[in-house]
Amino acid sequence: MKTIDTDILIVGSGITAALMAARLSETTTRRITVVEAGRQTTVFAERAKTRDRFIAYGEDPWRRDHLDDQNASGITHGYSPNMHVGGLAMHWGGVTPRYSPEDFTTHAMYGIGTDWPFTYDDLDPFYQEAEERMGVAGEQGPPALDPRGKPYPLPPLPVNYNLSQLQEWATGAGIATWSTPSAKNSIARDGRAQCQRCDTCYPVCPTGAKYSPDFTWNALVAAKKVTLIPETLVRRLVAEPGTGRIVRATGNRTDASGEEVTITAKTFVLAGGFVWSPHLLLLSRDTAYPDGLANRSGLVGKYLAGHRNVGGQITLPMELYPGVNSQHSLVSKQYQRASYRGRYLRHDLRIWESDAGRGPRVRGDDGRPLFGDALLSDWRARAKGGTARVRAYYDVLPDRESKLVLDPARKNRFGDPMPHLTFKDAPESAALREWQEGQLRDLFEQMAKAGKGTLRLQNSTNDIGQEHPTGGCRMGDDPANSVVDGWGRAHDHENLWVAGAPAQVSAGCCNGTLTFVAVGLRTAAAVAKAGG
């Protein structure tokens, strides 16, 4: 059996863990150990090659990126089977909007949902820190819509030719837009290249311009500031009867040896995301804690949150050239700031260039195959004009029974039940859903009309479930209705912390990763202050 002793144990190695470890390494002298169940995936030097094969064939550019028997069921959009050093942010799109101030106070402002135990202003310095650690390129939006304490660390990615045409249209439709903030180097920084707009940010950036957690891990490990141990699955946390202090983590190597591992530490930080952090707490049930650790409230695994989107394609009388920088977009926070039309609806708005419906055809209108120059001529005619892709994430309030449970029918090689997830809207969101989605379609219709265009194609919001999921260990001031306090510390265990997404009360209505990290950095600040 392998035994490890450390001061701070971080379970999980995703983006929240990486940037928390970076902060802790600067603010404490304590030994930091990070354990990751998966392996190291494709190293930077191999990414240009794996990108080529992704483009050519659709192959997974991330090698050795999952464990066959360590997976969840009943998942939603925003989940992936990936389990490896760096987590899902190895293949994220790098989009980094902040939540809006209202996301933290929906109950106080609108009488709906649950307020967070801190405000946007409280989180602002940690947002800033997250942006600086990743290197976020962003454009300051209108301050009333896009408040922030300090400027973005990097200049924005350019509003390219296509987006400038679309921005003019959006402005004419009465919508303020700006360059979407992104963790992509608009200028060379931190030894990483300037963005080369390769158009494969998601799933793989071949140049290193997009931030991914491996850059942080490589630097921390090289400087011997942390010990990173891959292929080590923590399966149980053990609490000391009486005090409730966590005294050790136990588990196994996930390599062929399957060797047992015991880790003793003074401080335990769960940074395994919205699935694996609550899962570990539920797995850690024993006679003293029959419902799992940190679960006095019965809310571990509960209040899983996310948001849905309504999207469309709008054909417009303008000439666009899709592919100039196709993953970059315009963003608006105009609709995040308040309910409108008398009922609760808050959403973001993103606008991209699009080539939807403008590709080549096999057959012409007469049904006969197209060959040679006739095919090319037909394609050229279809390629002319412009299409905007529009999408709005709207706020979905979570129900208590939006939950993760242990599924005894699905077990890993060690016999641990795997997680099963069920997402459920709170009654107020369920009642508003049809009206909300209708309003968003109306908005897109109005946008199309303003540009003398046509709205085409609308996804069903049932297609992909809820996105950018959070929750499962929600934070709050009252131990009766929350799992951790406002700093991420478990109410029931003084040396146990839950970091990032799982601690969140809600999922806002925009991409979530920056907020997961900011919340995690706030927890890291508290961990350092708490000592141990």
Binding site: K49, D52, Y57, G58, W62, S80, Q196, V362, L376
Partner: protein, 223 residues
């Protein structure tokens, strides 16, 4: 005699020719067939592809190139010129040869199961290529390669009568080799630029500078 004479790389010595002279070699050899790409990028270098169980995958690679060249000549745009059409066929062959059947797909957001790419489409495409020649002989009493462009297109049209695609599919999903060849070419950055009549460089890493100006037109291409 090895029929696949336009292969872009030297063929391994000592391999026995099969019925139509195709090469049957290890997948790792196939992947080394690096070619100048005007289509989807072929493997950048030898990728020692292994199955999930660690064994090399044996694949038959290559096509009857004279036949495939004449197919490409018939279906690809005249605007490419004969050299351009031949290059597109060469790139297609390298792409097919470099395919790793049933490799893991990219695990995107939204599903938990690990998904795999399709089985090797090449055997079916080879059979369809053979069938074009058979059909040509039935329809015109001549081998496919001896037909003029119009007659070859008639043969291909007849062969496509039972296919259903209306919009161009992903190359791997093409139901017929003629569509696969077209789909591979239309997926290329150069083809997209030609369709837009401008130097956009889709999926090509290029500097951020200049993104705010309208892409330069391709001289001589009317859009």
């Amino acid at each position: 005699m090895i029929d696949d004479r336009n292969r872009p790389v030297p063929e391994p010595a000592g391999l026995p020719p099969s019925r139509r002279g195709f090469l049957k070699v290890a997948g790792a050899v196939a992947a080394s067939a690096a070619a100048a790409s005007v289509g989807c990028a072929p493997p950048a270098e030898n990728d020692a592809r292994q199955s999930a169980f660690g064994a090399s995958i044996q694949r038959t690679v290559g096509f009857d190139r004279p036949l495939l060249n004449m197919l490409g000549d018939a279906v690809l745009p005249e605007a490419l010129g004969s050299a351009g059409r031949l290059a597109a066929v060469t790139s297609f062959v390298a792409w097919v040869d470099g395919y790793d059947p049933v490799a893991e797909e990219m695990h995107g957001y939204g599903y938990a199961d690990v998904r795999y790419l399709p089985a090797d489409p090449a055997p079916g495409w080879r059979s369809q290529l053979d069938a074009l020649d058979t059909l040509a002989r039935k329809m015109g009493q001549k081998p496919f390669v001896e037909l003029d462009v119009a007659a070859r297109r008639d043969v291909v049209s007849a062969a496509l009568a039972s296919t259903r695609e209306t919009v161009m599919p992903e190359p791997l999903g093409a139901s017929h080799i003629a569509i696969a060849l077209l789909a591979h070419w239309t997926a290329s950055p150069a083809a997209k630029d030609l369709a837009m009549g401008a130097h956009v460089g889709v999926l090509t890493c290029r500097p951020l500078a200049g993104t705010t100006t309208r892409p330069l037109p391709i001289v001589g291409v009317a859009t």
